[in-house]
Amino acid sequence: MKFRIISVSSMRIWGLLKMFEIKGLSVNYGGIEAVRDISFSVEEGTIVTLIGANGAGKSTTLRTIAGLVKPRTGKIEFMGEDITGKDPAYIVGKGITLVPEGRKIFPDLTVLENLKIGAYLRKDNIEEDIDWVYSLFPRLRERSWQYGGTLSGGEQQMLAVGRALMSRPKIMMMDEPSLGLAPLVVRDIFSIIRKISREGVTILLVEQNANMALQVADVGYVMETGRITLTGKGSELLVNDAVKKAYLGK
């Protein structure tokens, strides 16, 4: 699989590539303000994480970017284009994909069909990509003909990631990929995240597991009740006292 090979890191130094910009985004559900005037950006080739307690508005933020929810105010820019309020199919077509909270595998599609449906908008050959995903997750290859619903939680998470990769995303958003998985499987998932990132896919990661997330992330944002309250490099936030107390249980 060929992703861009331009030197992302050198452009990052010059601050040239803000792949993704959220400006003043607010989202309401009925009367409830789930996201309040947040702004952040994601640079190409990086891993950015959004951490925060239950109900902070992390999922809402990702779902709004994916086009499932329409924002009340604010702007979402992707590679210079305003994509606010566009429908999900358009957004997927632009190279933005979401691995949803709870994995949401199609239970009565086979593993292979789940991967194929991830490439729904593509018209080119996807065989190579299927092979690539299977090489990332060899267990999926063995289970190619099994129904999605019969996979274990960890396998379903791998399938959800593989399915998202099938669209050849420029940026992959992941909503709590470690949720409900055994520590060993969580480690697998995070090493896969690193690997995917090295292949050139930008990653926006939402996690409750702040410790793991901040370890892999270049940049972290902390969300509290709909607002972004803290920003920093992943390594800085890991040692930040407030973060330690609230999210790392130290």
Partner: protein, 304 residues
């Protein structure tokens, strides 16, 4: 045994035939339910409209033109109904969509009443299909013999479409989970439209077969076959295509066996035909008591 079969052959033949016609209608109910969890009450009336469209078109056009046009117009009708009456209610409570469906059903019946003036319209005798044939001593029409085969062929085609094409995969995905389907880039409205169009196409084919046998169309002609097809879909496990097809054949056959009760069971009486529908439904209720989700039904999977 052979003698018994021979004597009652015409009942079995028409049972299989009408069962096939119900099956084609039932697929429309079950597919729409599968994808929208909506009982499309207007479906039987779409079937009736297909009959009327044929009556009007064939009066001035040759069959080679009017038959394909009937299929096209009925597909269009199904598409428009979904677009106008159901899509705007996509995020409304399911009950509202149901009421909309009842409204469309009456609208179609009223429109039919308006255009026909309430008179039963004579359905054209389709060449070949309405010819008589003698099978093992029983006289019947070609349509009776053709229906089960045509139904089987269409069901096989539909199954292939759903199992092995991209759009079929999208239909299966959308019927499970709207949101995740959207995340894959599937435009769910398009998939829903296609589902309605397939259902309408099959209803149009059913109308050609059914009205050839019944010879006339009235504004309420869709009610009874529509109802039976709906029951067949529930009986088979609503949402399941094989279930709807098998359910429809069982209903069609049951109904005709009961109609032939005086000769099949050897109990004379004039009530057999009169009560055939009531008996058929009673039989279904008994089976549904034993198996509430229908023959092929899954445990109630409700959409989240």
């Amino acid at each position: 045994m052979a003698d018994f079969l021979h004597q009652n052959l015409s009942y079995f033949l028409s049972g299989i035939s009408v069962g096939g016609q119900y099956a084609l209608i039932a697929i429309g109910y079950t597919m729409v339910y599968g994808i929208l969890r909506l009982i499309n009450f207007a479906h039987g009336d779409v079937f009736m409209c297909a009959g009327l469209i044929m009556v009007y078109l064939s009066s001035s056009l040759p069959f080679a033109v009017s038959v394909p046009l009937v299929l096209i117009f009925t597909v269009l009708l199904g598409f428009i109904i979904e677009r106008v009456a159901y899509r705007p209610l996509r995020s409304a409570p399911r009950m509202s969509v149901m009421i909309s469906a009842i409204g469309v059903s009456y609208l179609l019946q009223n429109a039919a009443l308006y255009f026909t003036g309430g008179l039963a319209k004579v359905y054209p005798a389709l060449p070949w299909l309405s010819d008589s044939v003698v099978i093992w001593g029983a006289t019947t029409r070609v349509v009776t013999i053709v229906t089960p085969f045509l139904t089987a062929a269409l069901v096989v085609l539909l199954t292939l479409l759903i199992k092995h094409t991209k759009i079929g995969m999208a239909m299966r995905a959308v019927s499970r989970d709207f949101e995740t389907s959207q995340l894959m880039g599937i435009r769910i409205n398009r998939v829903i439209s296609i589902t309605f169009m397939i259902g309408s196409l099959l209803a149009a084919v059913a109308s050609l077969l059914y009205f050839t046998n019944y010879a006339s169309v009235t504004p309420t002609s869709g009610s009874m076959p529509g109802l039976k097809a709906f029951v067949a879909a529930v009986f088979g496990g609503i949402g399941s295509i094989p279930g709807a097809v098998i359910g429809a054949f069982i209903i069609g056959i049951c109904e005709n066996i009961i109609k032939g009760g005086s000769s099949i069971f050897g109990i004379p009486g004039s009530g057999w035909t009169t009560f055939s529908d009531a008996f058929t439904f009673a039989f279904l209720i008994i089976i549904l008591i034993v198996k509430p989700t229908g023959l092929f039904g899954e445990k109630a999977v409700d959409k989240v």
